[in-house]
């Protein structure tokens, strides 16, 4: 017997519930099926509600990236209502979004990823770590364990910064359509500066060197978990009175060519997902034979694409490297550092004044679609409204792209591609460790994948926006 089915479940230390089934052909992963095992259906919840509920309601899609949904829903409403955004509003919005991204990246690195490489103390919640491939020198290991606990404060400070302006976190209140409901006053700006300086210090003194150390000691992971370098970003950090500018550019990178992304080329496929078309709507079908996930395949121009910090850093020319497990980790840490610097710059550009918000009373349009990058890649919200009520609300999250199951032609999504072909020396000892490292480098958020339910009509192909 040379082939063996193994279920890696639960894949812990991530947001949401994930299982990955692999078929081992001797010591090589010959098949990998990534299963997002939760379905909630916020798009159904949005139907029939007042359109202005979208900002607060869609934040409830995801706890670790709540503001991402609030931001994209706000951009969507800005377009429907044709709002004008002031510079102050845009700086405040980007400061808040950035704070949530920093929170996300720091927690991902220390809470989720670090125990893949560092031997943690034998006490809850670290018992049973079973890390057979721990390579750090004892004193380095001890130091990084201490940094795990330091990151508790740094990541909390990110959410405190967000809350100074946003009222609470997760699920902030002030970043809404038309601007921001909170005034940038000297006391708040000063508090925020103090917090970001502390976070910046942490990132510079701990996160970046810790990333360097791990990438040096585990440098074989520059060859493990590679994807075909098809990268996609819709750009990040919106500016301009109509959200029309992106500070970091978007792009479609494939075969070493970069082009501008076009929303109309996105398509979906539910061949291996637990959904079936019913009366022109795609509904969850948990008993569907052969399917293995609640995450749908999403493609650009018919091809799977990887997204996230690595895609953004490469497309913007900030990172020059490959598309492996360790490249993803390095690019995320680099991005974290760059964002702390941006927040300091934006805070200094705020001009004290009243809350920068102007909301018009009635929407001028009945449809809108927005895609922009947030923590894990590009987030798309689209809506159709009638009399201010939602007729249809669609969400496509980065998890849908990175954790796409196989489509009708058997094309692998980025995570499954990265896993397939991996050589596992002595699977009994190292299988979970190696698979876990590859999977977590994509920063899985299965809560985000738990909603997508799209589309009238053509379930095999194009989305009609």
């Amino acid at each position: 017997m040379s082939k063996k089915r193994i279920m890696f479940s639960p894949v812990t230390r991530l947001s949401g519930l994930l299982s990955v089934e692999v078929v081992m052909d001797r010591n090589i992963v010959s098949v990998a099926n990534a299963s997002g095992t939760m379905y909630r259906g916020i798009e159904h919840v949005m139907k029939g509600r007042h359109i202005t509920d979208a900002v607060y309601m869609t934040q409830r899609v995801c706890g670790i990236c709540s503001l991402a949904h609030g931001a994209v829903a706000s951009y969507l409403l800005d377009e429907l209502y044709d709002h004008e955004l002031s510079d102050n509003a845009q700086y405040l919005r980007n400061i808040m979004l950035a704070a949530d991204i920093l929170q996300n990246h720091i927690r991902h690195f220390y809470f989720f990823s670090l125990p893949d490489y560092v031997k943690m103390p034998v006490q809850p919640p670290f018992e049973g770590q079973n890390l057979k491939d721990a390579r750090l020198a004892p004193q380095d290991n001890t130091r990084l364990v201490e940094h795990y606990f330091r990151s508790v404060v740094a990541s909390q400070e990110c959410h405190q910064l967000l809350t100074v302006f946003g009222g609470k976190a997760p699920n902030q209140h002030s970043f809404v359509h038309g601007g921001v409901a909170v005034a940038p006053t000297a006391d708040k700006v000063n508090q925020a500066l103090s917090l970001i300086e502390s976070v910046h210090g942490f990132v510079k003194e701990y996160l970046v060197p810790d990333t360097e150390l791990i990438s040096r000691v585990y440098n074989d992971y520059f060859k493990i978990g590679r994807t075909p370098a098809s990268l996609l970003s819709f750009g990040m950090f919106r500016f301009g009175s109509k959200n029309q500018l992106s500070l970091w550019r978007g792009g479609v990178l494939t075969r070493n060519q970069i082009s501008a992304p076009d929303i109309r080329l996105i398509s979906e496929d539910v061949t291996n997902a637990w959904y079936l078309p019913v009366d022109g709507e795609v509904l969850p079908a948990p008993h569907k034979t052969g399917a293995y996930t609640y995450i749908k395949s999403v493609h650009y121009a018919g091809q799977p694409f990887e997204m996230g910090p690595l895609a953004r850093m490469i497309i913007n020319g900030f990172y020059h490297g490959g598309t492996s497990t360790m490249d993803r980790i390095k690019a995320r840490s680099l991005e974290t550092l760059l964002i702390t610097e941006l927040v300091m710059e934006w805070l200094r550009k705020l001009v004290p004044g009243p809350p920068p918000i102007q909301q018009k009373q009635k929407p001028l349009k009945e449809q809108a679609v927005v895609a922009t990058d947030i923590m894990r890649g590009s987030l798309l919200h689209s809506v159709r409204v009638k009399d201010e009520q939602v007729e249809e609300y669609k969400i496509i999250t980065p998890t849908n792209w990175n954790f796409s199951p196989k489509d009708k032609n058997g094309q692998l999504g980025p995570v499954e591609y990265a896993l397939t072909g991996t050589v596992i020396p002595n699977p009994d000892l190292f299988l979970n460790t190696i698979l876990g490292r590859i999977i977590r480098s994509f920063d899985p958020c299965i809560n985000c994948g738990a909603h997508v339910l799209n589309a009238k009509g053509d379930v095999t192909g194009k989305i009609v926006f």
Binding site: R49, D53, Q129, V152, G167, G179
Partner: protein, 320 residues
């Protein structure tokens, strides 16, 4: 223990590969000071949720998360934090449930889908079966000393059970025939949750309100303690978000929401939604979000759609 023995033991552990010196020192020190407190053993299940409550938990200050792990709880199983993965994680869950039967606290984060045998939320899979949230909660609930529902989804169904609730999701209280301590909020203020755990550890079960929530945190309405109450009393209402007057006109449901946000505030106690010039949307309420929606419509004019949202009753839901 004699001083010499203690020093010798520390010296041995300091060079050991397991990094358990501090664990040893702390537990010995606690014995020495004669503390009556042990740590609370906790099994934390994530079910149908957004994960915002585990993120909110990470935001706790005084104690910070590291101190919570060191001094307050033994977090034995947690999809979010545990270093173990795959079958190692499931083995820990089974072992902890058996070894600490009647002694552990079960924390459930998220609602429990009932439709299609609960297949909308699968906690873990093996080669031949799925462990659904429904099965896991029904298995562990009766074995726990306390059951704590963290967040509004776990407490009452929340956003996971919002209209039209196509997964037939319910709160934990609807699937267990026992008392559930509801720490509601979307998400929870970390003080409410960590404070509840501390209460369980130090003084036992806290006094609960009629919704099964610790009265300590939920006993008064937001409206009663709101800094903007004087505006309400004088009939001065905000004309738009961003104004400094009472947010009742902007949809605030503070008058029907039990929570101490006005004086507790969020994330190291720096701010809360009304202070940020926006309405309270009543995220701790039994009828959240449907009873608060549309969020920006004044309370008397909100569509009272609870009747719609509660029907049809999800299959298998037991009577309260």
């Amino acid at each position: 223990m004699k001083k010499e023995d203690f020093v010798k033991r520390c010296q041995e552990l300091a060079v050991g590969p397991q990094f358990n010196l501090s664990e040893y020192v702390i537990s010995e020190a606690k014995k020495h000071r004669g503390s009556k407190f042990r740590k609370l053993p906790v099994i934390w299940l994530e079910t149908s949720d957004s994960g915002d409550n585990n993120i909110a938990f990470m935001n706790t200050t005084y104690p910070y998360l590291g101190q919570v792990f060191t001094d307050l709880i033994d977090l034995l199983y947690s999809n979010t934090f545990m270093a173990a993965q795959g079958k190692d994680a499931l083995n820990i869950l089974e072992y902890a449930a058996a070894r600490l039967r009647g002694k552990f606290t079960l924390v459930v984060e998220g609602a429990v889908p009932l439709k299609d045998n609960g297949l909308y939320t699968i906690i873990a899979r093996t080669e031949d079966r799925n462990l659904t949230a429904l099965e896991a909660v029904m298995w562990l609930g009766p074995l726990a000393e306390y059951v704590v529902a963290v967040g509004t989804c776990a407490s009452f169904g929340g956003v996971s059970a919002a209209r039209p609730n196509i997964t037939g999701s319910v709160g934990v209280r609807n699937v267990l025939n026992r008392e559930v301590i509801n720490v509601s909020g979307c998400p929870i203020n970390p003080d409410w949750f960590v404070g509840t755990l501390a209460h369980l550890l130090m003084y036992g079960k806290p006094e609960l309100d009629s919704f099964g929530r610790p009265a300590l945190f939920y006993g008064f309405t937001v409206h009663r303690h709101c800094q903007r109450r004087s505006y309400f009393d004088q009939g001065q209402f905000a004309e738009k978000l961003g104004d400094i007057e009472c947010m009742f006109s902007q949809g605030c449901v503070g008058p029907k929401t039990g929570a101490d946000c006005p004086y507790r505030q969020w994330i190291n106690h720096v701010n809360w939604p009304v202070k940020a010039n926006t309405p309270c949307i009543g995220c701790t309420n039994e009828d959240f979000p449907d009873g608060s929606s549309p969020f920006f419509t004044p309370l008397p004019e909100k569509n009272m759609e609870e009747e719609q949202s509660n029907s049809p009753a999800p299959e298998g839901e037991k009577d309260e």
